[in-house]
Amino acid sequence: MDKHEDRDAGRVRLSDPGELDDPWQDALASGWDESEDTGAPASSVPHARGAGQDGPGGPAVSAADIYLEVQRSPAFQEVRRRYRRFVVTACIAFFSWYVAYVVAATTAPELMARPVAGSVNVAMVAGLGQFLSTFLLTWAYVRHARLRRDRAALELRWDTQELTRGVGR
């Protein structure tokens, strides 16, 4: 949903640079102010809870309970599991590949200088491989997040904000 909006905003602002002056900025700015207003109760939750911890409980304490409850909910655990599984695997993969590359380049230059085709040697292939693997992992991460995580996370976001908003008031 908000992705769609982002895109539209980008397209309008790109396709019509003449609109970049005041009226458009004003519209954007005022639009944002409104959404900021509606967002205010949610962002005030931690403050409410902070105050609640100082004094006796009251409704503020339950904002913390809401976050704990959401954290323990199966829906959230699923989002977290999917995120962590991808990120941990991908981090281990790219980090060990990078460290192996740097260590090989500094400690085994003879290996890296072995020719592959023409003037291109192992080192050149490995270096361009680092670029390629970075682009591929970026693509894979974005795809994974979009297909496996975004929808569930957005639903959790609205649910959580609904719950905390009630508490804040």
Binding site: D6, S43, Q71, T107, A123, F131, L156
Partner: protein, 538 residues
């Protein structure tokens, strides 16, 4: 370099300065004076705009001229350097960008402080952020001075000093008047210019070799004077084992440091959602990756077309490789094409410095005002962000801080003018990786992390990194040191990352397991839920 080059380059400089000042005026005219506006540009940039701005913030003149020059002189080892700068973005994309966008408001300290006893954590994170920024800033300022002097042929000290003062003054104007909105647009303009310049030169190099990359490589190897060794690692970093370890240390610092750079982190707050932050990083990875691939072509192109010896004669560090290449590609030193291309390269380099410097100044003024000033001012400050007076006065402090940081940077830039400050960038990355990254990752992912752990991990990374540099050959004990006359060198490596990064993580762990305070389950739940879903994000 003849007078024509200089005149045209100066005209282009002036055009860029005029355009950016116009942007600043336009951005500041509509300012509301809120913290949201000043630090985050109203959080309304699109992912594409922010992606260009991130790329503009990240690609310093050191990358454009420095890495291409390193490749022209040392061949493959220059490429080795640029790989670290790119791979680092995977850490940012996977672990930092979205979560930081969801959890914080303006700075790194926001993310950590939301879980902890606010004041000590904020002061610690603010201090390390300012340290990183100042190190980076001084490197850029000194680079600006020597670069402009180099490109315009004026080697006099006065020209260099005036450049440092001029760049500093301009950036103070940009930041204090225009805030994040002006800074972002300057970075976007700069990124477009830089990409445009790099694409044009790359195409010309490839056309010269009829699109044959293999021929480019073999000609480069031939003309470098090193033969086949030019295309493999080891020419620059392959000497003693200390030199090799030093490079591994630098490589670690580059990969882990980017995610802790305050001016990069603050860019994620300029978009409305975490998803937009993710897509900005994708844009910037595309731009930065494409850019470094082009510097590879430019570097080997300079070696093949200009020749390594010629490059070294012009500037021993290789910083003029791209400008010499542009002269040749345009048709030679006395041709119109050569003059125009040379002036464009000089103007792009200048724009690059201004944009990077403005980004860092803004981030450090945010740390000073939002983290340090706000924490130090009132010991028992309640979170009264709703109070109308407070954000406005904080912005006023931030504007003053920008002026102050500008003055400090100009002063240090003038003092350090004749020193070799290339190590400062590596050091800034090392400090960011040792002091900022551990605390950030621990607070986002570790349930048991405590206030003491947070404070220890910041200082446990920051202090060793700085102390090790003071004890390293950079400062004393070798002819290239800052103080060549004395010798208190104990630590053999120039870059402290290999030791200080693990120390930062270790200190955070020890501080946490030894602390009396039990971790706050509810706050951890809140951080985790907010970071992954965006609930309650501003």
């Amino acid at each position: 370099m003849s007078g024509d080059h200089q005149t045209l380059a100066l005209v282009l400089f002036s055009v860029f300065v005029a355009v950016t000042l116009a942007i600043t005026t336009w951005a500041s005219r509509k300012r509301h004076g809120t913290a949201e506006e000043f630090y985050a540009g109203g959080r309304l940039f699109t992912p594409m705009e922010n992606g260009f701005a991130i790329a503009g913030d990240y690609m310093s003149a050191a990358s454009f001229l420095g890495i291409a020059g390193l490749i022209a002189l040392y061949g493959y080892d220059g490429l080795l350097y640029s790989v670290g700068f790119l791979v680092a973005w995977l850490v940012v994309l996977f672990l930092v960008a979205e979560l930081v966008r969801n959890c914080g408001r303006f700075t790194l300290a926001d993310v950590v402080a939301s879980r902890m006893n606010e004041r000590p954590v904020r002061i610690a994170a603010g201090t390390s952020s300012v340290t990183v920024s100042v190190l980076y800033l001084v490197a850029q300022m000194v680079g600006a001075g020597s670069l402009v002097a180099l490109l315009l042929g004026g080697t006099s000290g006065a020209a260099q000093s005036w450049t440092v003062v001029g760049v500093g003054a301009l950036m103070v104007v940009y930041v204090s008047l225009g805030g994040m909105r002006a800074t972002t647009w300057i970075q976007i303009v700069k990124a477009v210019l830089l990409m445009g310049g790099a694409i044009a030169l790359t195409v010309l190099v490839l056309v010269r070799f009829h699109g044959d990359f293999d021929a480019l490589l073999s000609t480069a190897a031939e003309r470098s004077g090193h033969g086949e060794r030019f295309l493999g690692p080891g020419l620059k970093y392959g000497g003693s084992w200390t030199a090799r370890l030093d490079f591994i240390s630098l490589g670690l610092a580059l990969v882990l440091g980017t995610a802790g750079l305050p001016h990069i982190l603050s860019r994620f707050y300029t978009v409305p959602t975490a998803r937009a932050a993710r897509r900005s990083v994708v844009w910037s990875i595309g731009l930065i990756g494409g850019f470094y691939l082009m510097t590879v072509v430019l570097g080997f192109g300079a070696a093949a077309i200009v020749g390594s010896d010629e490059v070294r004669r012009s500037n021993p560090a290789g910083n003029t490789a791209v400008s010499l290449l542009s002269l040749d590609l345009g048709g030679g030193a006395d041709s119109t094409g050569g003059t125009i291309l040379f002036a464009i390269v000089a103007a792009v380099a200048f724009a690059t410095i201004l944009a990077v410097v403005a980004g860092i100044t803004l981030a450090s003024s945010a740390s000073v005002a939002h983290d340090l000033y706000a924490s130090l001012r009132s010991r028992s400050r309640r979170k009264t962000r709703e109070a109308p007076a407070k954000p406005r006065s904080e912005v006023a402090v931030a504007r003053v801080a920008a002026v102050g940081i500008g003055a400090v940077a100009i002063g240090l830039g003038l003092l350090a003018r004749d020193l070799n400050v290339a190590f400062l960038v590596g050091l800034a990355f090392a400090v960011a990786a040792s002091a900022n990254l551990p605390v950030l990752l621990y607070s986002l992912f570790w349930r048991g992390f405590t206030t003491r752990g947070a404070v220890w991990s910041v200082y446990g990374g920051l202090v060793p990194a700085l102390v090790l540099v003071v004890l390293s050959p950079v400062v004393s004990g070798s002819p290239e040191s800052i103080f060549p006359g004395v010798d208190f060198q104990v630590f053999p490596l120039q870059n402290p990352g290999l030791v200080s990064i693990p120390l930062g993580f270790l200190a955070g762990w020890i501080g946490t397991v030894t602390s009396e305070e039990s971790p706050d389950e509810a706050k951890h739940a809140e951080t985790e839920v907010r970071s992954l879903t965006g609930a309650g994000a501003v």
